[in-house]
């Protein structure tokens, strides 16, 4: 599988098929069992400073009062030793180019989180927290963006908005995007290609070629039907699917009820 700059690729498959594992392998967090991988011209794990990573979402404890702004800023220098001194102190030093404070502003504006970046992150909604975390991943001006189920547990309008946002970033900044998802539909308008994992095998190609009844049946080894609804959405029927094991299932339920209540 090859990905170039500015490409938007979705990684799909049933639970347990290895999507998150693949992302972690790209990051060098898990060793490869076989084969080779080259990430930004280096071995996995060596080029991580140029990669933006959004892990599977765990909602922030509602009591955390750090502002979104502080969370975003961590993407810039959180890995360096020392104190998280206020950025305004550093502004005086910067002579060329945008200061760190400017970059934080820029990242926040990019994801459209300006309205709530100064609110305690524990009080932000699921979609808002997600955007701020995307800003954290983007602030380092990465060449590759890895997103692990960013749309999971968001309501439909937010799913559409986040998908559009990621696509924007992909096109305008030329960032390669590999996005893990359960449901391909929110991403359909933006995808270049999909990679579909099942039963230890994988398929890659444009959506129309991969997500068809014949192709998926061949991949799974059981009869799969792909139906197209009248509004263009795709429904995959017949996947054998082990029960989902989300470690933040608890938060999912509450994120939903919170979203509906507000």
């Amino acid at each position: 599988m090859r990905m170039g700059p500015g490409e938007f690729v979705a990684l799909l498959g049933a639970n347990g098929s290895g999507k998150s594992t693949l992302l972690k392998a790209v990051l060098g967090a898990l060793p490869l069992a076989g084969g080779r991988a080259s990430v930004l011209g280096r071995a996995p794990g060596e080029a991580n400073r140029a990669i933006g990573y959004l892990p599977q979402r765990r909602a922030f404890d509602p009591g955390i009062r750090l502002r979104g702004r502080d969370i975003v800023r961590l993407g810039l220098d959180g890995d360096r030793w020392g104190l998280p001194l206020p950025l305004s102190w550093r502004r005086a030093r910067a002579r060329r180019g945008p200061s760190a404070a400017d970059r934080v502003l820029e990242a926040i504006e990019l994801v459209g989180a300006g309205a709530y970046a100064d609110r305690p992150i524990g009080e932000c909604s699921g979609g808002e927290q997600q955007r701020l975390l995307i800003a954290q991943a983007l602030i380092g001006r990465p060449e590759l963006l890895l997103l692990d189920e960013p749309l999971d547990s968001l309501d439909l309008p937010n799913q559409a908005a986040v998908a559009a946002l990621v696509h924007d970033v992909c096109r305008s900044a030329g960032v390669a995007v590999l996005l893990v998802a359960h449901d391909v539909n929110p991403l359909l308008p933006y995808l270049d290609r999909v990679v579909y994992l099942a039963g230890g095998h994988a398929l890659e190609g444009p959506v129309e070629q991969v997500i068809t009844s014949e192709t998926l049946s061949g991949l799974y080894g059981v009869r799969i039907e792909v139906l197209r609804a009248s509004d263009g959405r795709l429904v995959v029927v017949g996947q054998p699917e082990p029960p989902a094991h989300h470690h933040d299932r608890h938060e999912h339920a509450h994120a939903h009820s919170h979203a509906h209540a507000s």
Partner: protein, 313 residues
Amino acid sequence: MPTATLMPADGANPQLSWNLVRDVGQLLEYHFMINALLAAGIVAVMAGVVGWVMILRRETFAGHTLSMMAFPGASAAALLGVPAAWGYFAFCGAGALAIRRPVEGGRGSWSEESAGIGVFQASALAVGFLFVSLYGGVLGDLESLLFGNLLGISDGQVLVLAAVAAGALALLGALARPLLFASVDPDVAGARGVPVGALSVAFLLVLGMAVAATSQITGPLLVFALLVAPAASAQAITARPAAGLALTVVLGLAVSWIGLGLSYFSVYPAGFFIATISFALYLLVRVLAAALRSRRPQRLTPAPAPPPRGVIA
């Protein structure tokens, strides 16, 4: 002032022989021991039953908070010159009314909640120590106040404990069915007309009384040994209420009496033995339960598909 170790009046150190009957007989010769055994037994039964319900209702935190209130209660009583029991009951009762459940669900903050509980715990203990110091700094009492004192339990105290236990258990018995319903499924129970809120307050009061009573035996710091350990062990063995409660009572009596008996024959206080035996019991039960579980036939759902082999077609 008496320390928490049990010594017969003549000062000789009783030795544990291998003749159990003779040892127990020797123990029972002393009136203070009989009172101690009665008190411990009454408390073990009460704490066991109340603790069983408390675990069911997942209100262990409340038991913990109330035990923290017991220390300032007892030391306030000492300061005022009244029996410690009054202080225990008064403070634990007041505390029970003041406890508010932490916010359930999405809005609750784990880190805030635990910080709040930690600060309250420290505050209660700080106030208790203040009372002890104001009392004139007779620090020999501190150990009894913290870890219980089984010497010199008067007949009157035994009667009071029996009365409180009888009242609490009678109340629980009367409310058993609606309480069980409200504890296990509060929403449905509420919809069916069960007064969930009132039952909650009533139970917290009973819990306060149980904590206060247990504190007189084990001291506020070791309350969980009788309040939680027997019931938790029973619940690890069986989920059925009747069997579980019976088992809890048996385990509680065993733990408290064996602990008390052992302390009679050694210099170490009863609280230590009770805490250690109850912990060992609980550990044993959990390990056995886990071992038995892992031997049973495996899952009903298919295992997830193996991860990809690193090559994408």
